[in-house]
Symmetry: C2
Subunit: 174 residues, 2 copies
DNA sequence: ATATTCTCAACCAATCTTGTTGACAATATG
DNA sequence: CATATTGTCAACAAGATTGGTTGAGAATAT
């Protein structure tokens, strides 16, 4: 391993906190929470939107849009009328977090041309330059998919202490 | 491994090609290409913006913005006037793709609370629900970082055939 | 019939993305 | 010094995306 002691690059990490948006949209995160809530009641009862909204602190009208989308997709079933609501149409052990993210945002890949399923040639991929990174992007996609598809909606909470930020890599670099 | 033969979920992968945007913005991809171009001429000469723009097919005025940003950041040095241009201020072997992405988009993490350096508590992280995924998000972040920081601007092209989509064996190729 | 619950298209403000314009600052050359 | 060249920077702008809301239905249980 090389030293890399340049002040500028050491600063990258600290300074680079400009827009803390993250990759997953709020909608996707809401969807994950809603699905977790449904998973917790799978096989027990149908859960009305209002309950999910309240428990998961999701704006109810927005949740309407999200759940309709998931329902249209077929991963959730709905029942109308009195005592209606939603339930998973698939056992939670058969739904991975990777599936949820793919459903909501279309792909796990960093760049379109590195998506395994939603693959499309980047219009702006210079063959010899941008695609210089394609092997790398594919590796990232695959590693991401392997992790995200390794955890299922039925899996228990994996607690993370506040001290554990960034410690999750066994061989973390100094 | 579980079976997971549900038609819906098998469909996820095919159907989920809705908005092929990807995680990395066009600006970030331009920045990577520009940096690759500078890396290719590191130690040789100063490269004017117009050359980068033409070679990498980046709108020159937009490249202006990008290179100024990189220069302000200190990762690139500029020279004005006749025969001016840009050069890396750090040897390309000391710049990883992870660095570039962090510089341009602030973090590698899927969600803000899973960023190691640009960490911030998600305002919308229900302690017991959203954070149910935090351990997972941290693993993804770390795996991503390890891969992206393992390849440097000085590294040679890693060709990927069209057949190799998703195959991504790190050191398999001749 | 009525109350309850999901459905869905349309709309909206704010922000982000992808650029462009144009005035200005620095520098090399003659 | 004059001038051409090249980077700097703030402002603008069209279009897309995000994060929602509104409101008019449609289905269903009682």
């Amino acid at each position: 391993m090389r030293e890399r002691s340049h002040a500028n690059l050491r600063l990258v990490r600290r300074r680079a906190m400009r827009h803390g948006s993250g990759v997953l949209s709020q909608k996707t995160r809401y969807a994950i929470r809603a699905m977790q809530h449904l998973a917790d009641h799978y096989g027990q009862r149908i859960v009305p939107l209002s309950e999910i909204a309240e428990a998961q602190k999701i704006p109810p009208k927005f949740l309407t849009v999200i759940l309709s989308e998931l329902t249209r997709f077929g991963i959730v079933e709905s029942q109308r009328g009195k005592d209606g609501g939603y339930r998973l149409s698939i056992p939670p052990i058969d739904i991975t977090y990777g599936d949820l993210i793919r459903v909501m945002r279309g792909s796990l890949a960093l760049v379109p041309c590195a998506s395994r399923f939603a693959h499309e040639k980047c219009k702006n991929c210079l063959e010899e330059h941008d695609c210089r990174t394609r092997a790398l992007m594919l590796q990232v996609r695959d590693a991401t998919a392997e992790l995200l598809d390794g955890v299922r909606l039925s899996d228990p909470i994996q607690p993370v202490g506040d001290e554990d930020i960034g410690a999750a890599a066994p061989q973390a670099k100094a």
